[in-house]
């Protein structure tokens, strides 16, 4: 009984046409390559309509502001979080191995497009300035040292470095002394209260602007670019 029913349904399926049509496409953005010229330069004739699986959507152009995220239902029933406005992200200080949720202050540099800097658009690979306070607080509690020495007041230094500590705390701090050094470029940024970071997530896809704090060669590279841009 069973096998014969299966046989009948499979022979029917051959006659179904698989229709993936552009009726479902509200905008005209498609990701096909049939509209492009071939490698030889020949213009390809259009022989079918746009298909839904080749669709493209408007870009998110995430700006700075109160969090606004729209959900987009995508192929397979899954959802993409399209961030339209963001103000904070989870940034990690690589060499120290800590991440903190921080406010994003401004976009400083974008390798692809200066327009995105002017309009403060958050995209992957954008160099931004973030609020330094969570990281400073962590550093001071971890190493009992002050960051941004030049600008810190005497009273502050006193408070952080000479706060009363228990014996076990002092032992821990002594052990961490060796790795407590921070690069001078970073130190200056801490003094100003703003760190340079780069976004490494895709805000228009995941709805988050996460990234890492720029350090070392990468930091020097981008600082040079930002400086030369200003002039």
């Amino acid at each position: 009984m069973h096998p014969s029913i299966f046989f009948a349904s499979s022979s029917l399926s051959f006659y179904y046409f698989f229709i993936h049509l552009s009726i479902y496409l509200p905008n005209g953005i498609s990701r096909d390559s049939r509209h492009k010229r071939s490698a030889s330069g020949a213009r390809r004739a259009q022989y079918r309509k746009k298909r839904k699986f080749e669709l493209g959507r408007q870009s998110a152009s995430t700006k700075l502001g109160g969090k606004r995220i729209h959900l987009v239902r995508v192929r397979g029933g899954n959802y993409k979080h399209r961030a339209l406005r963001l103000e904070a992200g989870n940034f990690s200080w690589g060499s120290e191995g800590v991440s903190r949720k921080t406010r994003i202050l401004t976009v400083a540099y974008n390798a692809s497009n200066n327009e995105l800097v002017r309009t403060n658009t958050l995209v992957k690979g954008a160099v931004i300035q973030i609020d330094a306070t969570p990281f400073r607080q962590w550093y001071e509690s971890h190493y009992a040292k002050v960051l941004g020495k030049k600008k810190a007041t005497e009273a502050k230094i006193e408070e952080v470095e000479n706060a009363t500590k228990s014996k076990s705390q002092q032992k821990k701090l002594a052990a961490r002394e060796a790795t407590a050094a921070v690069d001078s470029l970073l130190d200056d940024q801490f003094a100003a209260g703003r760190l340079y970071a780069i976004i490494s997530s895709r805000p228009g896809q995941s709805g988050r602007a996460d990234g890492y704090i720029l350090e070392g060669k990468e930091l020097e590279f981008y600082i040079k670019k930002i400086k030369s841009k200003k002039h």
């Binding site: 390559s33 070392g216 590279f221 670019k225």
Partner: protein, 152 residues
């Protein structure tokens, strides 16, 4: 240093450069498999190329082909010409045909100075650009070096 030509900082994606613990320039490379030797320049050089099969994020899968280099005028890519004979049954004879394949050539092969006429082995990878789906794996210079004098 000299490889930071672009507007964005060029680096290998997976390696963390700012570790406090060790400060030697870390470089990641891989063996492409199938018996191809990864060139010394790839292991110890300083170039960054995300499309290089040894030092970048592409894998060699599918076909491995060989051909003759036709042109090297593009940045980091070459055209490889493969000649073959096509049989025409009516006349019981063959005709010459050729295909041009665009292949990405890694800066690992920069010091070899690839020129038109060299034999090259290319391996299939995922689409890298509109026409490039292959990556150069091995270069074999042509019999006589073109511009220098060979010994008699």
């Amino acid at each position: 240093m000299s490889e930071q030509i672009e507007k964005a900082f060029q680096k290998q994606a997976g390696i963390f450069q700012n570790s406090k613990v060790s400060s030697k320039n870390k470089r990641w490379y891989k063996e492409v498999g199938l018996g191809f030797k990864t060139p010394k320049e790839a292991k110890f050089g300083s170039y960054i190329d995300k499309k290089c099969p040894f030092v970048g994020e592409v894998n060699i899968q599918g076909r491995i082909l060989t051909g003759v280099v036709n042109s090297t005028k593009m940045k980091r890519t070459i055209i490889v010409r493969r000649d073959y004979l096509h049989y025409v049954p009516k006349y019981n004879r063959y005709e010459k045909r050729h295909t041009n394949i665009a292949a990405h050539i890694s800066p690992a092969f920069d010091n070899i100075n690839v020129e038109a006429g060299d034999i090259v082995t290319i391996g299939q990878c995922r689409p890298l650009t509109k026409t490039v789906r292959f990556n150069v794996l091995k270069v074999q210079k042509a019999k006589t070096a073109s511009k220098s004098f060979s010994k008699f």
